[in-house]
């Protein structure tokens, strides 16, 4: 059984200006211990997808369709009480800029123990023991549990957040831009850590980022999102060596590749789509070099083009 199956997920937001279709029919799956990279630009729906899976949507957001199967059980209809139980034990989430989410007046150890005591009904002593283990796991000396967040460096704070996310041995960990605000060397350290943990603990991981370049080294498969939909899914090899969707191809080109020619890439003309009033048919058609009439009229259905490689595009070449 797969660890996670997201089928036709739709999450909409009610705003004063209308219904915002943040996630509009998104499907992907994840095996135990597998790492999926969810990539796209701002507003594409990747964070909302993560929040939907962790059931942490703000009150304006609502899942209006689809299924989220965690180990076979659909979490969408689950009542709030069950969700609260499952929240940190099945799925935990590391947010962007998470190091700023630490309470400055509480010791780091206490904040990690808090999660353990809450979910596992453990005694303070047991929780402390587990906290120290967790700190060692994320390569922080365990005697630092009694320090306050301001005594930690940026990288250490992020590692403390990871420790917190691991507190209840989740099956799936979602990282929403976990390294974006960090220096490149610390980013590398954190990514090393996440990979090691994933292997040692056989956790599933969803890594959400706008930085396509880091996904090749970190993930098994990649899903590219645009305007609330997934335009292409595939293994790292599929995406980088055999990208089919015009957006994927252009997007890859936007990241400097020091092993390639030194030319400024073409970029993508136009503006990101307005999710309150998205373009008809395929949302990418206003910016696509190959758009034809059917692209403006009909939303393309995802099509399997080999193995696990799926593309949603009307172009004949893309679908072969």
């Amino acid at each position: 059984m797969k660890l996670l199956e997201v089928n036709n997920l739709k999450t909409y937001f009610k705003t004063s200006k209308g219904m915002l279709k943040a996630v509009d029919d998104v499907s992907f799956d994840l095996e135990h211990g597998e790492a999926l990279g969810l990539v796209g630009e701002s507003g594409c729906g990747k964070t909302t997808s993560a929040l939907s899976i962790a059931r942490l949507l703000p009150k304006e957001g609502r899942i209006v369709g689809g299924q989220i199967l965690l180990d076979g059980r659909d979490v969408i209809p689950a009542p709030e009480s069950e969700l609260r139980r499952r929240r940190w034990t099945d799925v935990s989430i590391i947010f962007q800029g998470a190091m700023n989410a630490l309470n400055p007046v509480m010791t780091v150890g206490k904040q990690i123990s808090e999660a353990i005591v809450l979910h596992e009904k453990a005694s303070e002593a047991d929780a402390l023991r587990k906290t120290k283990d967790l700190l060692e796991l994320v390569e922080i000396p365990s005697d630092r549990y009694k320090h306050y967040p301001h005594e930690f460096s940026g990288g250490m704070k992020q590692r403390a957040m990871i420790a917190m996310a691991l507190a209840c041995d989740p099956k799936l960990i979602i990282g929403d831009e976990p390294t974006t605000a960090l220096d490149v060397m610390i980013q590398a350290q954190i990514l090393n850590l996440l990979e090691r943990l994933r292997r040692e603990l056989s956790m599933g991981m969803i890594l959400i980022t706008h930085d396509l370049a880091i996904l090749g080294e970190t993930c098994d498969k990649i899903a590219v999102m645009y305007a609330g939909k997934i335009v292409e899914t595939g293994s790292v090899k599929d995406i980088f060596e055999d990208a089919r969707h015009p957006y994927t191809k252009r997007l890859i080109g936007c990241f400097p590749n020091v092993k390639g020619p030194k030319t400024v890439p073409a970029g993508i003309e136009g503006f990101p789509p307005n999710l309150l009033d998205p373009p008809s048919g395929c949302a990418f058609h206003p910016r696509c070099d190959f758009a034809c009439d059917i692209c403006k009229a009909q939303t393309p259905e995802p099509v399997n083009v080999g193995g696990k490689h799926i593309v949603a595009c009307h172009l004949k070449e893309a679908r072969q």
Binding site: E41, G154, V184, M185, A213, C254, N257, K262, G267
Partner: protein, 345 residues
């Protein structure tokens, strides 16, 4: 060595130190004042029409260097020379300097006053310097600046507010505001790091186009080494307030000699590349800039550090034309190889 008189901008032994205010008691009790050595002896030149990238992580001092050149921050020591003359400190001199050297900021969402119209934002440098007399002239100059920044039809943007524009458009407004005085030199502080990948290229292309058509030179400040490679002629790598290595973009990327440069290259993600095993990261984290370090700033984390590195601070030394490295082991190797060649002749 290049003739320093040709250079548009020359920075010589630049130091910027900030004193930290201690709390009242600790200020009384301790004798030493804590000093943050944000920039601690930086020297480089930028020619007309050249793009030099200053690459470093947070705490490297790269932004402070940019601000010090533009006199937004007072240099503690050292010289900033523009077009052959030290940047003057009096009002008239500074006013003239500011027409020639401008800054492009990092955050397009914060760099524009949300309550001002676009036309007023772009025209503000003119207004402050008292350079236009009539409103037609003002409009015309704003129109030109917006068009140069790729915002057309310019008139459509005049009476809009920043919140009505996208991130890329806002950054173009920032650039238009920097262009309106006709500068020869622009300090761009992480100008694209807050923009989506697909929008970045548009801004980068604009900057290169401006260099090609108007001969504007740039100091391009970034933490992204691969981006620096893409856009610049030369790259300077900074660490804790000092330049560790400086050379052409290709030299730094493909043949970087300083251990820090090599460390950065070793962990650089390449799109599509998978990695076997762990990334070779450096131990620990960048030390606090307030702590005084004897010897080479990088010695605490350097795999090649020697006793000499911990005692003495290396200066930049040319190991190939235009390629300088501040590292004793590298300099030793270079010296022995040239002696070896000389010995063989």
């Amino acid at each position: 060595m290049k003739d320093a008189r040709e250079a548009l901008v020359r920075v010589d032994g630049l130091k910027v130190h900030f004193e930290i205010r201690e709390g009242f008691l600790s200020g009384l009790l301790s004798k030493e004042k804590k000093v943050v050595r944000a920039v601690d002896g930086v020297t480089f030149t930028i020619d007309r029409g050249e793009i030099l990238s200053l690459v470093g992580e947070s705490g490297s001092g790269k932004t402070t260097v940019g601000k010090a050149i533009l006199q937004l921050v007072q240099p503690t020591e050292g010289a900033v020379v523009f077009e052959g003359a030290p940047v003057s400190q009096d009002r008239e001199g500074l006013k003239a300097f500011r027409q020639n050297a401008q800054m492009v900021f990092q955050d397009p969402y914060q760099a524009l006053n949300p309550r001002h119209y676009i036309i007023d934002i772009v025209a503000e440098p003119l207004d402050v310097a008292g350079l236009v007399k009539t409103s037609e002239e003002r409009e015309q100059r704003v129109r030109e600046a917006l068009e140069q920044a790729g915002l057309t039809p310019a008139d459509d943007y005049f009476y809009r507010y920043p919140y009505e524009l996208s991130g890329g458009q806002r950054q173009r407004v920032v650039i238009a505001g920097a262009l309106i005085l006709g500068p020869r030199f622009i300090v761009a502080d992480e100008p694209v790091s807050m923009l989506d990948a697909s929008i970045r290229t548009g801004i980068l292309k604009l900057m290169i186009h401006l260099r090609d058509t108007k001969g504007i030179a740039y100091l391009f400040i970034t933490h992204d080494l691969s981006l620096a490679w893409l856009i610049s002629d030369r790259i300077a790598i900074m660490y804790l307030g000092r330049v560790m290595e400086i050379g052409t973009a290709d030299e730094i990327i493909k043949a970087g000699l300083h251990p820090y440069t090599q460390a950065l290259m070793a962990i650089m993600p390449v799109p599509g590349q998978t990695r076997e095993g762990e990334r070779p990261v450096l131990e620990g984290e960048t030390p606090n800039a307030a702590v005084e370090i004897t010897g080479c700033k990088f010695s605490s984390r350097c795999p090649r550090a020697t006793e000499r590195c911990r005692q003495e601070q290396p200066e930049l030394m040319e190991v190939a034309p235009g390629h300088s490295v501040a590292c004793f082991p590298v300099q030793e190797e270079h010296r022995s190889s040239t002696e070896h060649i000389a010995g063989n002749e």
